[in-house]
Symmetry: D2
Subunit: 283 residues, 4 copies
């Protein structure tokens, strides 16, 4: 039997936790995880609750309907997931393959609960990697002229393939608003700097020129504004004046892999709530 | 109006969260924090719930009695605290004053919600520090012969002063079982290594001889077995072959201060649950 | 007998290291530390060499003259220091005392080889701290109108007191070019963010609003452009959505103390070379 | 033209640096890196010097002979390397493939300057990985009875293949003294704990039971005593009570990959000196 997962956010009020946990309890569900958070400044309540459907009194396909009145009572934003669903994921990549390899190997090792039916690139470079892992590869060369048209084709393709989530594994192109709006809070990017420092292009060059003593990597949901979406995860590593630009890249790539894969795993495990361009991570 | 805090642990069963949150909700309490954790291996349920007593229907001094039936129903270990109580703390120190200073300055800055009426040492060194901060200082010279007798006097003194918590801020003496048993899960020590590595004396010397590339510090509750109690917090910092033994101590002392003060703050904020010689920290 | 320390930078050429180490060796000096670095991009050579003056053939006050021809041969920027000199340091502070306390306690513990004859503030708050540590305290209230005049008085005072180095230990005022130019590469500031992110005022508020998952602190030499000087040291610490703005400040202050004190120690130990708005740290 | 690299250790004396750098300078070599370290406790001098052979007056194959008198004068342990040599490396692995994959992908990306002609295992599991990367795979099943005989065969094979360095990428077997002695300071192991804590088997289980708040990984040269060889690199990552044993392994594997690959790279770049069961890393 799978588990059910509810992700909830709403204005804080007395009784939310009691009401939600009572809903699970009365229907004979066993809560395996329950996390809540109240944002003190905005007074918004966030909750993630996961319970076993073993002996649960409500059939899986009727839980949403049964929960609706409670959601209404508290004016909740909410999503219901089940752990036996397998989200379908597409990976976009350009010429640096390290994050792509990393995701594919983690997937192969069973660490990412998803299907990866599709790899998309603006180059040919990753074609053999896709083939080695038995994944369909599609090249969409991008120019200033064809970008909007190519994006429309990509959107159509992703919809046809029922892609729920898009991972930008060092994808070098900037999407237009059209693409971003098609997958709100469903596109995860890895940026190779400690955002908001060094947004935009060539962050390692920027960091090297600035002479920072620590470099970082940031995974975030993509929004229309470049490198400005809600941050999911960050990590940093120490560098010294001895580090060349090449050394920065080498150290940074190790961060990128870890930071991106954590974000993807949390997304797939339904542990992320977005609000106010920030994230709550129930890890 | 203060908040109430319940710390609960018991065997996991359906309905605990629902029942506890319902208790708060029915009595018109507003939950400000609720964290729970289920240890998958031992199937033990842990909860910390904090709610505002503003408009709470049960008087502060009757809450414990009102909650007792629920505690009984689930065979809970539980403690009830109120945020307007000020725990009384004694600090033990020997000749290194950096942790003592750090705690006293944090206390002065309002970061530690407690009273510190007492500093105890086996040396005279900290006497002037105690005086500068207006705290009573007592010297208990310790020899192999007088240790048990001195400990008995210390226990009597701590009880007389209603000391709830003892902090060992680089106290060089090892307590006997007699003292440890008098304050179960109420003595916090800082050990200047990444436990379980380099337990016992001179951990920096041990680390230096071993040639480790990272050093650490560990705060833990004291149990009879030396440096073996439940770990509350740890932190580490990178060192290189260039670091002398002195450099290790210098870097380590910065860790010690941070690691000890975090443990103390969490204890005072009732965020720590101990089980099976481990800790759950609801930070 | 003290050690001599040479800090050297010049265009890289064959024979620099050989010539400098030969200078020390021929005159019977025993090299205790020698570090060099070549910046691959700018082709600049940096060196720090420290040797014992025990049995050194050249008298201490004649070493500079003896080294001059070598410096000339390679067109070096160079400075000669001796470990028995005690630099005189002034600390500027506003209302947050944690960095000030930290520096004073490290100084008292013998970890900072300098004299601290002077604490300067735009407020009265730190007066009692200065008194407790037996240090002269001077208040310079700053307004938009009197800033230039007050700075002139401060510069005169610092010169009269033979102050070699200025530490801004959370000093809230921004200096004009006039003050900065009077102490080039001799003013160390602590900024409570991971620069270049969150420069300017209220960096913790900025970080909190942005929803970063890691916060940082940066020590740097002050230049005319705000928070843009050569970075000496940085450190970071992980935060989560659970952290309030207050929690960020609390965690950040621990970083600030460590990051500032490292920078100050390296400066005092003559381990820092500045070039191209970056630093080489021979730690 | 390649660079030459000298790794030197000897009792500290006046004039070593001057003599060595003069040797390079007089023969028209341009020093690109020079690092030295003096161990204050043992008074041992360590040096790594790398210079360009472009226009160097001594032919590559005569440098060793030319340097010998200097080495004799100071009773040096020394090794001479050239950057156009490509060390041959064998990787041993058992059933966890993450470190193997990581090394192979870094090698493919040009980050490890070596040849990897051989993968050896006590299982069949890695056979397809070896094939995918075009590397010879040999299975040596190990039992208590055949271990010594199998090791003899492995030693013979490694010699026949001119293997200079052995990497244990989560190899589950413990070598006997016979094998270890055949490759002194030439076998690098990754141990999945922060040594000396949790040596031996199942370190993640040990860490989980102990309730540590930080886990680590350690790369070290293999000596006869289990997990006790000179430490090359370590790293740590924070965990909480929420982390299951599986989570520990997942986080730990990311550390293992980074920590092992750094050690391998430093070894290949001739940046490691071993003494007194510790390492000097000129990174």
């Amino acid at each position: 039997m799978p588990n059910a997962i509810l992700l909830i956010s709403c204005r804080d009020k007395k009784g939310i936790t009691a009401t939600v946990t009572d809903f699970v309890f009365k229907n004979n569900g066993n809560i395996e995880h329950a996390d809540q958070h109240i944002d003190a400044q905005s007074n918004i309540f966030f909750m993630r609750i996961e319970w076993s459907l073993k002996n649960f009194k409500i059939a899986k396909n009727k839980i949403a309907a049964a929960f609706k009145p409670i959601a209404g009572q508290f004016a909740m934003d909410w999503n219901l997931y089940f752990t036996d669903e397998t989200p379908r994921v597409a990976i976009f990549v350009s010429s640096y393959p390290h994050c792509l390899y990393d995701l594919l190997l983690r997937h192969k090792a069973g660490q990412l609960k998803c299907a990866i039916p599709l790899i998309i690139s603006n180059h040919k470079d990753a074609k053999t990697i896709a083939r080695d892992f038995g994944i369909k590869f599609l090249e969409f060369p991008i120019t200033q002229q064809n970008k909007l048209a190519q994006e429309r084709k990509q959107i159509a393709l992703l919809r046809k393939e029922s892609i729920e989530m898009v991972i930008l594994a060092r994808y070098g192109q900037i999407f237009t608003k059209q693409f971003v709006d098609a997958f709100p809070s469903r596109i995860i990017n890895i940026h190779h700097s400690f955002l908001p420092a060094f947004a935009g292009s060539s962050p390692y060059d920027q960091a090297y020129r600035k002479g920072v003593k620590i470099i970082g990597a940031t995974s975030h949901y993509v929004v229309s504004k470049l490198d400005a979406g809600p941050i999911i995860e960050q990590d940093t590593v120490r560098v010294s004046h001895r580090a060349s630009l090449e050394d920065l890249k080498l150290k940074g790539e190790d961060l990128e892999k870890v930071v991106l894969s954590r974000a993807v795993r949390w997304h797939l495990e339904r542990k992320i709530l977005v609000y106010n361009n920030k994230t709550v991570i129930f890890d």
